[in-house]
Structures are given as structure tokens and as C-alpha cells.
Symmetry: C2
Subunit: 411 residues, 2 copies
């Protein structure tokens, strides 16, 4: 195989994470070092930046600022939630992408995102192949939800998990200071998969975790929930609860939707967070003082408490995608194979994009307790190695010094 | 003056903070080293533990665990919100306290808390003096709200401020990734004083702060607020807003109460957080996508991002109270005198408890901009030195290793 010379475009898509920029930095660094990638472009706002010809010249960024990307949260290049149509229905976007690729001599396309992004990646890859335009397309996984299949875990998950476990420990201590009863309900992200909510169980390893954990994987039963809470509250005077935003009733309706007209004692309806809704219900049924906390955006952007393992693996995923492409691979996503039998080790592997796109991995049923209100040992053994090590984030003025890119636009 | 031999009781009161235990550790250490304090008791749940004879023998705790208190959030001894009656109205509690003090030969009482706690402290001090029972009573300040008078600042404020500034920077990056419009509203604690909300301006020093800041100190005008948001949203497509939970209309009603029947597009009323209420209003008026975040308990317990300056000063405050009492002082609170003219330096001072009790210090009007939607340089110069330095919190399993006390009860 002869070397393929040409430019590359790197793009980010979907919800940001604390470490998605570490992957981008891995890709940029490998591209600059590749010897055959002649120009490194960043797509502004993912595939939309390609369609709208908004490309940043990453070669012209300051090397030290680029390195800070490793510790900078959110998507430095900008993101999008644009879903590309199948080419057989509408090929407008694909033609435009091909036009841009030709104009900038793009022979490598790296796309960093979750399920939907791998689908975009897969479609572009196929279209380029069918068009006879040689362009190597690689997916780099990213999702705090940890729901991509075929990989042990996803970059971004561990840092969010570390934030959640740390915050649970801190709230646990806060929720136990008064000698009066108190129920505290904390809502974690996860529309369909409970990986993040389950991370609250890591706090229990340190003796400061939740009493009850409800994942989106199990059918939610309000009566049973209230009985669980009531029992623990009676026994201990306190009850700390972790709940996935995506819990559903047996008929498939989201609890947050079904109960959105629940009213508090004043006749006010509760909307917004699931935690606030459950708090109103628990308060009404038990008379207990109840507080709700929603981690909201904080759990996906808290770079100051990112996992070093996650940072390094994210960097590795971005780098591996470039090296593999330079070596002739295309139409693949980088994944992880991990071994936890004797310490923890992680190796990269390549997975066909079509095997990943639009699939969803949930927490295995046997990792959840029979009552559906707790997490079992296998999850702890799985997740604990991933949250090890502390970020090397630089500080200035006692605050994070995040990367500041020049973002020089290509003409 | 001859040395006063006897036991001491240390208590914690009011809302917890990330560093209140650092003060307690300072007091415990100084008491153990004092040479005249013969026994160190901790009151379970503040003054309630005294009244109910629930005392922990702190002499019997492991020294290494005690040291971890420096980095452990929340109130390790437990807290209370018990308001003691004036003795002229009802002296039952005072008689009981005197009884317990005599029984345990308590000659030193150290109370760690905010406004109300200094009031409790002051009343006990007076009662003991009038009863002819020699007991030295000292207050140790604590409040994330930073609203105690006569001291430059309060232990606990800086760590909460650091958490808020750090989280604002992270959310700023998160809120700017998409190329679609977005308004983000973040609610900070502060019922009457805006010190914490103003800390969001520290993030602006790093280029990643809010566009608009509304403190409880200024009258809130909904029309002006909507005009401010609309203007910035039209200009930039994004708007990041910091708001004190305690903002009020001109007639003194809390916005969160006055607008609690605001409905969203579905006719659902919004209750709970002020941020959620404002989000519903902004969404209705501007049509923009709006997200709300409430820092809630997280801002007062986030020890993992505590300020080292705050930790050391809190420790110093606790230690100084004990040393001063041993040297004959009583009826005082430890405060700080700070100099920012040539770097930052902080010295302790003693303030009469009656000068502090029940008073409230607000953000100076001249530190807020004329429009009442931003913070000026003097606040930055005041607060920035306080958030410097990182906690030395130990980690285990990639998570905080907080203090675990034995809490052996005195008989």
C-alpha cells in the first residue's frame, strides 16, 4: 500500500464531554506527525461546518494551546446535532461534502461523537467509496452515556462517572448533618441507559453512596419506589436516591412526562427535572423534608474532576484513528478492549462503523439487583478502574486555564 | 492571669460548607496542644447535642483521621438550626447548658457557624458570666454566604466561590458548542446577599463568564431583565446568566415566590428553582432555547475543588479561637483583617460577639454596575485572592478519602 497524501478534516458532534477535546488533540497531533497528512482542518460545528465550508486551519494553532485541549471540556471545534439523510432519499448533503473534500483535497475524515455521529460517519464513508473518491473515514467514540456497542466503554463516560461519584459523596455528607429527617433525590443523565446513574454506586465503595438507585433499564414502579423510600426513611431518618432521567413506566412512558402535572402542597404543578417531580411526590406521600438535585450540564463538562485514565484513553482513541487511517484503514471506529483480571489494561481495536451506528448498549441486567433499586459488584469492578487518576489541568488565578484557539478560517 | 483548666466543647451549627471541618480541626488541634484543656468534646448537632447530652470524645479519635477533617466537607460533628430563646423569656435551655457544662467541667465553648450561631454564642456567653460560672466562649465564623460583618470575609465563602467560578467556566464552554441560539440561566445560593452569585464574575477574568449577573442587593425588574437578555441574545446568539436565589421585586417579594405560578407552553406551572421559573419566562418571551441549572447543595459541599487559602484560613480561625480563649479572651468571634495592596495577606482579629450577631453584610453597592446586571473591578480584586490554591484532599479508588470519625459518646 502506498501512502495517501492529502488533507484531513476533524469534526466533533453530539453532546460535549469533559474529554472529547483530548481525542481531538490526539488526532491533531497524530495528523501533524503523520508525514502524509498535508493540512489539518477542523470542521466548525461538525458536519455542518463541512457543508457550510467553515473550516479552521489547525496547523496554524499554537502548539501549547493545542496541548491544553487535553484538559479542556466541551467541543472546542463546536458541535452539531445534524442528522444526515440517507443518500438514496436525498444526496444533496453528500454531493456537497464531496465537493468540499475535493476542493480541500481531503483524503482523511475523522468524526468524533456518539451513535448518531457514527451513523453520519458510516454514510459518508459509503458514499465516498461509491463515488470512487478515495477518502479514509474513521469514527472516534465519545459519549458520557457509555452506550456504544462493541467497545468496552466510551471516552467521556469515566469522567462523568467520577464527577457523579465524587458529588454523591459530598452530597451524602451534606445530607447527613442535621438530626432531622431528610430525603435527597439526585437525577443523573441517561435517557435510555443507566451507566451514569449506576456510577453513584462507586460512592458507596467509599461508604458515602446512595441508599437506592433506579436505572432506565428497569421498569419503574411508583408504588414500589415509595415503599422503598419509606422503609429506608423510617429505618435511618435519611434516604439518598440516585435516579436516571430516563426511567419509564411499564407502558414505556417516561415518568417525567407522565407525572409532569403532579402538584405540590400549594397546588402548583411540577415541571422540569424528574428529581423535582419525584421530590414533590415523596414529600406528599411521606411528609418528609425532601430535596432534589439535578446534575444537569455539570456532569458532562466538569473537566476539573476528569479521570486521568479517561483523558489518556480519549487521547489514544483520537491518535489511533489517524494512525490506522494513514495505514490504510477506513470505515471503522476505534474501540477499547480491556482486561481487568490482573490490574487494568486497555488496548485499542477497530470496529466496523456499520456495526456501531444506531446501536445502544445498556447496563447488563445481571449487574442490577433483583429489586431493581441497587447496583451489584460486576458494575463496580467494571467502572472503578476507569475513574482513576486526576487531571493535570493547569490553573491560572486559581481557575482552570482552558485552551484558547485562534480558529483561523480556511478560505 | 492564671491558666484556666477544664474541658472544652466544640460545636458546629447552620448550613455546612466545604471547609467548616478545617476550622473544627484547627480548634481540636489547638485544644489538644493547649496544656490546660483537659478533655476535648464535640457536640453532636451543635447546641442540641449539649442540651441532649450527646457529646463525642474527640481526644479518642485517630490523629490521622482528624487531620483529614481539613479536607472533608459538611459538618463532621453534625449541625442544627436550633434558635435559642432569649434568657429573659425562657431560660430553660441556659439552665440545662450550665448543668451540662458543670457536669463535664466545661470551661471553654467554641461555636462554629454564621449569624444565628454567633447570636447563640453571645447569649450563652452572657448567661455564663451572669451565673458566675467561668467559661470562655468563642465564635468561629463560617458561612458560604459571606455575610458576617466586621470581618474581611468568612471561611467557606472562597471555596464555594471557586466552585461557582470553575463551574461557570465549564458551563460557558458547554453552552457555546452548538451553532444554534441558547440562553443558559444559573442560580446561585444567597437569600439576601449576592457574594456567591457575584463569584461568577471571576470566570469572566478567564474569558468564560456570564453575560449578565443579578444580585439580591438590587431590586429586580422583570422587563429590564428580559430586555437585557433579548439584547445579548440578538447580538451573540447566546446568553449566560447568573442569578441570586434571593432576587426580589421593588415591593420586597421574592421573584421565586411571585412567579411560582408562571406556566410553560404546556400550561404547566413552574415551581422549585428560580432558574427554572426564569427559564420558562425567557422561553415564552423570546422563543429561545433556554436551559436552567441550579448549583443547589453542590456549591456548599464541593470539597474536591476547595480553595487552599480558604482551607488554611478556616483552620487558622479555629485554632486562633482556642489560643485566644486559653489566653483569657471570651465573648469574641475570630475575624480576618486582609491587605491586598501588595499581594494578599490575612491576619486574624477578635470581634465582640454582640457586634456580629444578627447583622448582615451585603455586596457594596459601588461594586455592582449602574445597570444592576454586572460586577465591577473592586469585587474581583477582593475575591480573586481568596480562591487561590488547590486542596490537598487525599484520594482512594480515584475518589475523595474523607475523614471517618469514631464518634465515641461521652457518658
Amino acid at each position: 500500500m502506498s501512502a495517501l497524501f492529502g488533507s484531513c478534516i476533524i469534526g466533533q458532534s453530539g453532546g460535549p464531554s469533559a474529554v472529547i477535546n483530548a481525542s481531538v488533540y490526539g488526532s491533531i497531533k497524530a495528523a501533524l506527525d503523520s508525514g502524509c497528512i498535508t493540512k489539518v482542518y477542523g470542521a466548525a460545528n461538525g458536519i455542518r461546518g463541512v457543508l457550510e465550508e467553515r473550516l479552521y486551519i489547525l496547523d496554524e494553532e499554537n502548539a501549547a494551546e493545542l496541548e491544553l485541549l487535553k484538559y479542556t471540556p466541551s467541543s472546542a471545534l463546536g458541535s452539531c446535532r445534524y442528522k444526515i439523510a440517507p443518500p438514496e432519499i436525498d444526496d444533496t448533503d453528500y454531493k456537497r461534502i464531496l465537493e468540499i473534500f475535493k476542493k480541500y483535497d481531503v483524503r482523511y475524515f475523522f468524526y468524533n461523537g456518539g451513535n448518531d455521529s457514527m451513523d453520519t460517519c458510516s454514510k459518508i464513508s459509503k458514499y465516498m467509496a461509491e463515488s470512487g473518491y478515495e477518502c479514509r473515514v474513521m469514527g472516534i467514540p465519545k459519549t458520557i452515556d457509555n452506550d456504544l456497542v462493541e467497545t468496552d466503554h466510551c471516552p467521556g463516560f469515566a469522567s462523568a462517572a467520577k464527577y457523579i461519584a465524587t458529588s454523591f459523596m459530598e452530597v451524602y455528607l451534606d445530607a447527613h448533618v442535621y438530626d432531622v429527617g431528610m430525603v435527597t433525590i439526585i437525577e443523573c443523565m441517561g435517557r435510555h441507559a443507566g451507566w451514569l446513574t449506576a456510577a453513584s454506586s462507586l460512592a458507596s465503595e467509599m461508604g458515602q453512596g446512595p441508599d437506592l438507585i433506579y436505572l432506565a433499564e428497569r421498569v419503574f414502579d411508583m408504588d414500589k419506589f415509595l415503599a422503598d423510600v419509606g422503609r429506608i426513611y423510617r429505618d435511618k431518618g435519611k434516604c439518598l436516591i440516585a435516579v436516571s432521567e430516563g426511567i419509564q413506566y411499564a407502558d414505556g412512558t417516561f415518568v417525567s412526562m407522565a407525572e409532569s402535572s403532579v402538584t405540590d402542597g400549594f397546588g402548583h404543578a411540577q415541571l422540569g427535572g424528574l428529581a423535582a417531580i419525584l421530590a414533590a411526590i415523596v414529600k406528599e406521600k411521606t411528609g418528609a423534608k425532601v430535596r432534589s438535585v439535578e446534575f444537569s450540564l455539570l456532569q458532562r463538562c466538569a473537566a476539573h474532576v476528569a479521570s486521568l485514565i479517561d483523558i489518556e484513553e480519549s487521547f489514544l482513541a483520537g491518535k489511533t484513528a489517524v494512525i490506522a487511517a494513514v495505514n490504510g484503514k477506513t470505515d471503522m471506529m476505534v474501540g477499547f478492549d480491556c482486561d481487568r483480571t490482573n490490574g487494568y489494561s486497555c488496548a485499542t481495536k477497530l470496529i466496523k462503523l456499520s456495526d456501531v451506528a444506531n446501536c445502544e448498549k445498556k447496563v447488563p441486567d445481571e449487574w442490577i439487583n433483583a429489586d431493581g433499586n441497587g447496583i451489584l459488584r460486576p458494575y463496580i469492578d467494571y467502572a472503578l478502574p476507569l475513574i482513576q487518576g486526576e487531571t493535570k489541568l493547569s490553573k491560572e488565578n486559581g481557575l482552570p486555564r482552558f485552551a484558547r484557539l485562534k480558529k483561523i478560517q480556511a478560505k
